[in-house]
Symmetry: C2
Subunit: 403 residues, 2 copies
Amino acid sequence: MKKKIGLKDIAGFKISAVKAGIKASGSPDLGLIVADDMAVGSAVFTQNKVCAAPVKLSKANLKKNKGYIKAVVVNAGNANACTGTLGIKNAKACATLVAQKFSTKMESILLCSTGIIGEHLPMKKITDGITKSCLLINNNKTDAIFSKAIMTTDTVNKELGTTVNIGRKKIMIAGAAKGVGMIAPNMATMLGFLLSDIAIAPKVLNTILKEVVDDTFNCVTVDGDTSTNDTCIALTSGSAGNKIITSTKSEEAQKFKSALREVSYELAKKIARDGEGATTLIRVLVKNAGSRKGAYLIGKSIAESPLVKTAIAGNDPNWGRMMMAAGKSGVNFNESKVSISISGIKLFAKGAPLKFSHSKAVKALKKKEVTIDIDLGKKNSGIEILTCDLTHGYIEINADYHT
Amino acid sequence: MKKKIGLKDIAGFKISAVKAGIKASGSPDLGLIVADDMAVGSAVFTQNKVCAAPVKLSKANLKKNKGYIKAVVVNAGNANACTGTLGIKNAKACATLVAQKFSTKMESILLCSTGIIGEHLPMKKITDGITKSCLLINNNKTDAIFSKAIMTTDTVNKELGTTVNIGRKKIMIAGAAKGVGMIAPNMATMLGFLLSDIAIAPKVLNTILKEVVDDTFNCVTVDGDTSTNDTCIALTSGSAGNKIITSTKSEEAQKFKSALREVSYELAKKIARDGEGATTLIRVLVKNAGSRKGAYLIGKSIAESPLVKTAIAGNDPNWGRMMMAAGKSGVNFNESKVSISISGIKLFAKGAPLKFSHSKAVKALKKKEVTIDIDLGKKNSGIEILTCDLTHGYIEINADYHT
């Protein structure tokens, strides 16, 4: 993974971001991605039954325009969710404004919003910000602060990229994402933006994006709360000049998928590591669960258990809470075949507690990354779920948000 | 509800409790309920796939002895869960010892343990404690500290009772319960002990207990974590001398059920109010959800959302998080028909935010009891889910448990 590759390095796109004044802090809060021509786009959205106006509009536009996208505009600080018909009207006004600036139709624009639910967009600030962003792009002034402009309670911006050789062409992929609360593995669970210069058919990109998101972003959980605004968008410009990929099963598609997965997985880890109040990245590795669904439910139950998350925060090798969480998942397994290790230290094997060095375990738990290995003793199927510990920081951020 | 009625007032039972030395604090930690004759008993247990040795043994004994129970022994400080075959052996030894003391068979004894998972019972301390408890009862020394002996992280003991006239007899019902972490609405979710002097057939008691628990204790959630040891036991002595109740549909059965529900609901509220770190009791009232299951899933999703619980802790009338939580429940509803009030203050009506006095809302949220009303705008079916706010106290208790 090359940290130096960012969104701005992907040929065929221009990026900008501005301070529109939506965030009270005065930080950058409006970002824009514009394709030089028309990009091939795909997106996955929140599965929350209550979804925000920008999600509704983006879904509709993506369908209407058959996956061809000119621009994506993102604002942070206001989610435009639960805002009724005025919310939809405001979202459309934003998309229409961007479309006008680039002489395209409203249906080729995607929209993302993140921030507080239930307040109307400050339209004057937003439209001024959009106008400013479009001007920057028309003047060819690409800005690197896009990944900062999409942050809410994130403490660091999250952006990285990689390259992969397909045929004789070097393909570039970069992504940016934001977390870090209201994050749970039920669809895209955050905002994510993946750009590539690859030439690929819309249907193939669609299939690949869904599979990659399922395996990466959908395996992140910070608090089990699924946002109303989660969106992950992939745009490809075709500027790399490779022979267009038209089959998901082709070697080229699989190579691209693997590289896109790498970018998404690393961004997913960054989201979990930066979870609200987090001090530790927790990787829950479920093994031999019998089925992917079983592995997912057990991993999610452990990763979302407040008691497991506070135990890790307290450097407590409390495998009992992990067994409790596995058991409450509803998945059938034989207790006497289960083994658990934390960061490589075996604590519980085949249904019985093991003697282990408490001080060594505490030392391992004090590290910034902890793994929980749980082997259910069946055959097949494992999964990796990414989460973080639950600390006073989470309470501070979320009990005192508005003030 | 009469707070002065406790377990010790129910004719036909003797109660004792001792300090066995299982809790490091030296507080009472072993309790015993013994029926003068043989009581009619029923119980509901945790649905966690990983269940503790005492749960396994009690389930088996209740079945083998067809609902006739001589005694219940409870220890706090050690859960005897995930302890393999030695755990089962230890549980049987405890039950056998109690049986010997009262000249009955092991199968007529029920066992409950609560405390840390994954450690073996300190058998010397426990058997000494059991011997001491049995002696107290044989000497007719009923002790009122039973509800204290079952506490773990509870800050107050929870015990209350009521009376109901059935025919010409005054029936007495009393209950004691403990929480207050690893609590979620998936079966009994705590330890609960309900005693009555009513004469009732085992099958009728069984049906009534299940319905009552479903509606009260199973509607409590502190952290969404379902314990490996949850048990609710009802014992009836028949000492009231009423004509034995043999039909669930009889007026007498319904009267008893209603009184038992009242006792259970008040205990359930005490558990939620005393949730680990809690400062506020939250009553989530779901209305017009179309079905009981839908109402339950929406109520549970709101009551278990860390973002909702921290918002209440921070006195923030953040109805947006409640909408998010309702939406992530997976239940279908029409966003534009939803209304939300907090403690009677209308915040959101038919899909749109309302103007409201922020200072009034903050004032209402500062009270020790907060209601969240959510009306889904369908027909039929509501539910009340009981929970508490999520505060620094929860983190303190659970990140630093062992030390």
